[in-house]
Every structure is written in C-alpha cells, then in structure tokens.
C-alpha cells in the first residue's frame, strides 16, 4: 500500500478554533489599538468600537472554553506541550539564530510536534490571554467598584499584554507564513496537512512517532 504523500498535522476543529480565535483577536487588536495610540482615536468616537471590542471579547473567551469542553484531551496535551521543556529546547534556542537566518537545515535540533519557538508562542498566548481576560473583565464589570489606582494598573497591565501579544503575533505571522523556510506552515493551518518531507525536516521526532504508530 502506497503511503499518502501528506501527513495530518492539525485536526479540523483545531483549525476552526485557530481562525475563529484569530478573527476575534484581530478585532480586539484593532479596536484596542485605536484607544492605545492617540493619533488613531477618531474611529472610537461614539463608542461603537468599544461595543465591537466587547463582542469580540466574548468570542475570544468563549472559543477556548468551548474548545476545551469539546476536546479536553487535546487541550490538555496543548498545555502539557507548552510547559514541557528539556535540554533539546536549550539546544534549539542556541541553534535558532543560524537556522532562521538560512543556515544549514542539518544543524537544527530534532523537534517534536511543535518546536521550541512555537512553544514559546503557545506560552505567550496563554499568558497574555489570561492577563487580557482578567484585567478586561475587571475593567468591564467593576469599573465603578475599583479604586482609581487599581483601575489605572488594570489599564497598564492590559497595555503591557497588548504590546507583548502584538509583538509576538508579528513574529508568529512572519515565521508562520512569510519566512522562506516555513513554506508549508500556513497551509497546515488551512487544510491540516504537511508533506512527509516537510514533517521530517521540521519535526523529525514527531514524524518518527507518527510513522511508527501507523506501522
């Protein structure tokens, strides 16, 4: 029996979740940035963007909650994957600059289902996601209760999370879709598949695992 030329990297529901969460985040990003950067404030007049920010916030919170309820195992694996670090991750970090600047592929450390950089991005999404949601909900529902001093710090933490998430999102977009070496990464978040060659060269430990599993 001929092996299929592609292997499954992401399941349909994961892909749906990824893009719904992306859409919600982009709306939050744009409607938030216009309040953060003074020169861009004009569209916020009248408060429409604030309503949009709240609608997107509901999606931003509901999507991961639903995903976790529907896929407890995969969600748990995601969290475990994010926080499982070993010697190979340190080696990856050391090898990454040369690798991303076009150095030889063979010098890269073998990686599992996601590489160390992706793990860091997963961590950033969890970390800033929690900061956004906690400070956001407090500012939304407890505006009249919180003391001005506490409210001011909520705004600052929300700003900080924004900067961190925005910068890392830029890195994620660049490495995920534009970097010359990551040719199949964007596609894999679209139809869930990557070629065997790509899987072998980018995620060899994971590729070995799934090849063994399928016999």
């Amino acid at each position: 029996m001929a092996e299929p030329r592609v292997v499954e990297r992401f399941r349909k529901r994961t892909i749906w979740f990824h893009w719904i969460h992306t859409a919600a985040f982009l709306v939050l990003l744009v409607t938030g940035a216009i309040l953060f950067l003074p020169g861009l404030g004009a569209p916020a007049a009248g408060g429409i963007t604030r309503s949009l920010h709240r609608i997107a916030a509901v999606v931003f919170i509901a999507a991961p909650v639903l995903y976790t309820i529907i896929n407890p195992k995969m969600s748990w694996r995601f969290v475990k994957e994010t926080f499982t670090w070993g010697k190979d991750d340190i080696k990856w970090l050391q090898a990454a600059p040369d690798y991303y600047f076009g150095g030889g592929e063979s010098r890269m450390i073998p990686q599992g289902h996601v590489n160390t950089g992706q793990k860091m991005w997963e961590f950033i999404t969890l970390f800033t996601g929690i900061l956004f949601v906690v400070t956001g909900l407090l500012m939304w529902f407890l505006k009249d209760t919180l003391s001005p001093g506490v409210f001011q710090w909520m705004v600052i933490v929300h700003d900080f999370a924004f900067i961190l998430a925005f910068l890392m999102l830029l890195v994620h977009i660049y490495t995920g879709s534009l970097h010359p070496r990551m040719k199949e990464s964007l596609r894999s978040m679209w139809d869930g598949k990557v070629s065997r060659g790509y899987a072998r060269s980018h995620y060899s430990k994971w590729y070995d695992e799934i090849s063994k599993g399928s016999g």
């Binding site: 003074p38 020169g39 404030g41 409210f151 900067i163 910068l167 010359p180």
Partner: protein
Amino acid sequence: MEITRRDFIKGGAGATGLILLTPTAMAMAKNSQTSAGKAMLIDVTKCVNCWWCYAACKEYNQLPETVKPDLEQPPELSPDVWTTLHPVMKDDRWVSRKKACNHCTDAACVEVCPTGALSYNEMGFVQYEKEKCSGCGYCAEFCPFDVPQMETNKVTGVAIMNKCTFCCDRVANGEQPACAAACTTGAIKYGERTELITEAEERIALLRQSNPGASVYGIDEMQGLHVMYILDDSPEVYGLPADPEVPPTTTLRSILKWLGSGLAIAAIAGFGLNYLVARMRMKRGEE
C-alpha cells in the same frame, strides 16, 4: 512569487511605521496649554450656601432639574451635576467649597484621552468635544480630583463623559461663567488668572492675621489650576488633595506606547533583513 513577498513585507513595514508614528504628530499639534488665561477664584469665607451657582449651572447648561439640595446630603458630581458644594461643619455653621472641574494647566484627563475629545483651550480651561468622546472613562479614572463623570452601559460599554465646560461659549463672548454671574456674595470671582493670583495673595495675607491655618490652593497645583481657592483651613478639609499630581501611571502609559511602537517597527525591520539574508543563504546552500 519572491518579489511579491518582498514587496508585501516592504509595504507592510512602511504602513505600520506610518501608523505607529502618527501619535507624535498628534502630540505635537495638540497643545495650547497655558497657566495664564481666564480663571475663577472661589472664596469659602464668602459663600453663604445659597446654591445659586448650582442652579445657574443647571439652567444655563440645560441639565435636568432636581430639588434644592440639602447641605447634609449634597449632590455628588454626575453627568447632570457639573458643580456642587462640598460643605464642612465649622463652629455650628456650614462652610462650603464650590466643587467642579479645576481646569488644570497640566491635566491628566487631556493626557490620557485617546480620541482627543479633551483638550486645552488657549483661554486656559480644559474643553471637550462630546462627538469625539469614546466613553472609555480613562479621564474619570486618572483625574486627581475625581471630576469627569459618566454613566456607562454595562453591556455595550457606550458612555459619554460630562463635566464643567467653564461655560466656554459665554466666556468666548466676554461674559462670565454662569456660576460666577449668579454668585450673590462675590465668593466666585472670574477674571484674568494673573490678576486673581494677586488678589488671592492679598486676601490670604489678610485672613492669616486672624487665622494662621488659612490657605490658598491652585496657584502651583497641577502647574496652576484655573479654579483657585481661598480656604479658611487646610485643603484636605475641603476635599482637595494636598499634593495633586498627574498619576505616575500616565507617564508609564506614555513610555509603554513609545516602547511598543518602537519595538514593533524594529521587529518589522528585523523581519525584512532576516528574510533577505535567509533567502540568500538558503539559495547558496542549495547550489
């Protein structure tokens, strides 16, 4: 394909740079900040608690009527109450400080307003354009005097800020603000700020002969308030913070904005460089 990619990166970097640099231009354009201009001088020793300032404010600004307030339960500032009294019981009688926006020279609300709805008027007061207000409420949270007021719809987040306007249209026509015009005893004086400061200093020197605790407030606070006070006691007694300031969090926010914008531009430039170097080296590797 590769050229398209490169163009895409270049275009993206340019556009992002432009967007991120807009705040500088805005910040440079906005300021007609001045410690001079028009001002009011409130003298608590002359106030007789008649509430005419309160009534005149409501009438002129077409704010909903309420019953004549009680000194024991004075109305709080609200979207419909732009001025009120802060009464203090002294030797069996009420002494009141009129409370409203102090129109700071260095105003936290203007600093934090994301839409430019709040701004400095060259005549010295802090003005706002209702149509530009997003209802974010930062002004209310960062004002050291707790002046800007708003009612926020919990679900949609829609809110409009309200506060004393210094009756800017009257002032622009050479008239006094409604509260000053209505004051029956001269407890609210309107005029050139520099002249009012001289007057305040003379008055306080006189008061201090019999009452060393008397104080004047607003000459230097917030780089100069456009509503200053003659007090027969310390500022705190009348609900005024002894040392008001633009909250340090305001400065921290500005730093974060610049830091964030700078890092984003640096990141995008870095990607462009990375892209070119990586592609070149990968091609060489293939050959």
